[in-house]
């Protein structure tokens, strides 16, 4: 049996309109790869302000229950609309109220994503009503799942994905991993460009060294039968992320591949400026791995 590169794809379903975009994108990828599609919904944790304010067993509880039911209803509606277009797609309900305290929605979704080859998520993941900082939900999923995560920006479904690809290279383990993880999505690419942005003060010798490093990445992709070109840019934009996004947009890229990196601070992991800016500002889907 020829091995499928992607056998299971997980897509996050919530009550936002963006869900329809993600589902359409996920269907395209699942069909292209012959993969199982799991549509995962995480119910919000039932935090109980009622007990905090001494109003137990009152209308307040019913209000919360009604709000939760409405949220889940919207998510189910999205799935119900989508389902006839892909009957094999599976619904996965993840209970946000877990015994033992694991109740952070990105963590719960990460647990399900560890049982998939690719996870697809939006920029916001907490519903229409409480907009978290864009990208935080996706970042949590990226850190905890250990899987490649495709972050889909706001807007309608992209016309294509993975035909013109920009790879943001840097000499880091996260980047190396992201490139390797992207290979299944690069199979149908017509143009792949591996870009590194060199510091503005880089000498011609340093730029030549960057070019050589990029060429070895191009050779690595070539051994996977993926044709790529390399490009070195010298930092000039307001931020590295902006410069990369501009380059990707100019080339008409429909996918950006990037390592997601940052540092651990106390108990939480914080992404660096580049990763956060890239995820939150991109209008092109990004495949990111930590």
């Amino acid at each position: 049996m020829p091995a499928r590169e992607l056998s299971t794809i997980l897509v996050h379903v919530d009550d936002t309109r963006q869900t329809a975009t993600r589902l359409a994108l996920a269907r395209g990828l699942a069909q292209r790869h012959g993969a199982r599609l799991v549509c995962a919904y995480v119910s919000p944790a039932r935090i109980a302000p009622a007990t905090l304010f001494g109003r137990t067993g009152t209308d307040w509880d019913r209000t919360i229950e009604a709000a939760l039911a409405a949220t889940e209803g919207h998510a189910r509606d999205h799935f119900a609309t989508f389902s006839p277009t892909m009957p094999a797609a599976e619904w996965l309900h993840i209970d946000g109220n877990q015994p033992g305290g694991l109740s952070d929605p990105p963590s719960l979704l990460a647990q399900a994503a560890r049982r998939a080859d690719l996870a697809i998520v939006g920029l916001t993941g907490t519903g229409e009503d409480h907009k978290d900082a864009p990208g935080r939900f996706a970042e949590g999923l990226i850190v905890e799942s250990g899987r490649p995560v495709l972050v889909v920006p706001e807007g309608g479904p992209p016309a294509s994905i993975g035909e013109t690809v920009t790879i943001a290279w840097s000499e880091r383990r996260e980047t190396a991993r992201a490139v390797a993880d992207a290979i299944p999505l690069l199979r149908q690419a017509r143009q792949v460009e591996v870009v590194e942005i060199a510091p503005p003060e880089a000498s011609p010798g340093e730029i030549a060294a960057v070019r050589q490093r990029l060429e070895s990445v191009v050779a690595f992709l070539g051994r996977h039968r993926i044709q790529a070109l390399s490009a070195v840019e010298v930092a000039a934009g307001p931020t590295l992320a902006d410069q990369l996004l501009i380059r990707a947009a100019e080339r008409g890229s429909d996918l950006i591949v990037a390592g997601a990196y940052g540092h651990a601070r106390l108990r939480e992991f914080v992404f660096g400026g580049f990763t956060h800016d890239l995820l939150s500002r991109s209008r092109i889907p990004i495949l990111a791995t930590h």
Partner: protein, 286 residues
């Protein structure tokens, strides 16, 4: 599952090297991957300006040493060439301190799998086992296959044991291992829980293993799984290695836990124990 098209193997002068190369050769042939052998040459001159006068004899000794070990490494590689005629030989300069790690990391980022030994010396230098493996595992971002210093291993991935925990690292290791499991007879999953756990918690772990099996089976592989409570006084690493022997595993797949603190790598307890007492090849990802 992703594919493996480039395997990078560390070639050195030690007596452990031939077994490592033979295993890398077998994998390269079975997976139809390109094989690159990298020898990292130590400096041929004194790397650091020492205070006082340097005995000019030192540089002679260093370059003689370098020639000797390179010749030995080349002999090891020549044997591999018999097995894999297309294998590519590369000599790279070590960094100023003579460490092979940074070179293997940089080259490894352009490969799908990195094969290193459990120890990189014949015991002449006071280096603990697994140091190179740790460094590469933590920094390359690619899976590392570590070949034990003792024993001969003809193939890996036919009867793998996956040491599972609900973590990013274990998830990564499993994902990275999939292409090596293409010809597996059965994939064994093992999760070790706390010594005592509520029924509910155990049921949750078993459910977790069941959904994990479904994921692996979607890749066309047969699976088995078990949940074991931990045993007080016996480390999880010992339990894992003992189960690996029981099921006749030919490879252990596990997450590599650790973090870098300043210049130093701090490994998790189980990872450290396995690296020092491993009895079978270990595929590890951070």
């Amino acid at each position: 599952m992703p594919m493996i098209s480039t395997i990078l193997v560390h070639v050195d002068e030690t007596r452990h090297c031939p077994a490592r190369l033979a295993l890398a050769g077998t994998l390269a042939r079975r997976l139809e991957a390109d094989l690159v052998g990298v020898f990292v040459a130590p400096p041929a001159t004194m790397p650091l300006a020492l205070p006082g006068e340097v005995d000019p004899g030192w540089n002679d000794r260093l370059s003689r040493h370098r020639r000797t070990i390179q010749r030995q490494a080349e002999e090891h590689f020549a044997a591999l060439k018999q097995q894999v005629p297309d294998a590519v030989w590369r000599v790279e300069e070590a960094d100023g301190l003579g460490r092979p790690g940074p070179v293997l990391v940089a080259q490894g980022r352009r490969a799908d799998l990195i094969v290193v030994g459990q120890t990189e010396t014949d015991g002449a230098l006071p280096q603990g086992p697994g140091l190179l493996a740790q460094e590469v595992m933590m920094s390359a971002g690619r899976p590392v296959l570590i070949v034990p210093q003792a024993g001969r291993f003809t193939d890996v991935g036919r009867r793998p044991l996956i040491a599972w925990t609900e973590s990013r690292e274990a998830s990564r290791a499993l994902y990275d291992a999939l292409p090596l499991l293409r010809d597996a007879e059965k994939v064994h999953l093992l999760e070790i829980g706390p010594a005592r756990a509520a029924e509910e918690e155990i049921a949750r772990h078993r459910d977790g293993l069941a959904t994990l099996r479904r994921y692996i089976e979607a890749h066309g592989l047969a699976t088995a799984s078990e949940y074991l409570p931990g045993v007080p006084g016996i480390g999880d690493a010992s339990l894992i290695l003992s189960r690996a022997a029981d099921v006749g595993a030919d490879m252990l797949v596990m997450g590599g836990y650790g973090h870098s603190r300043l210049q130093e790598m701090v490994l998790g307890g189980v990872t450290r124990s396995i690296l020092s007492s491993m009895t079978l090849p270990v595929l590890i990802s951070h």
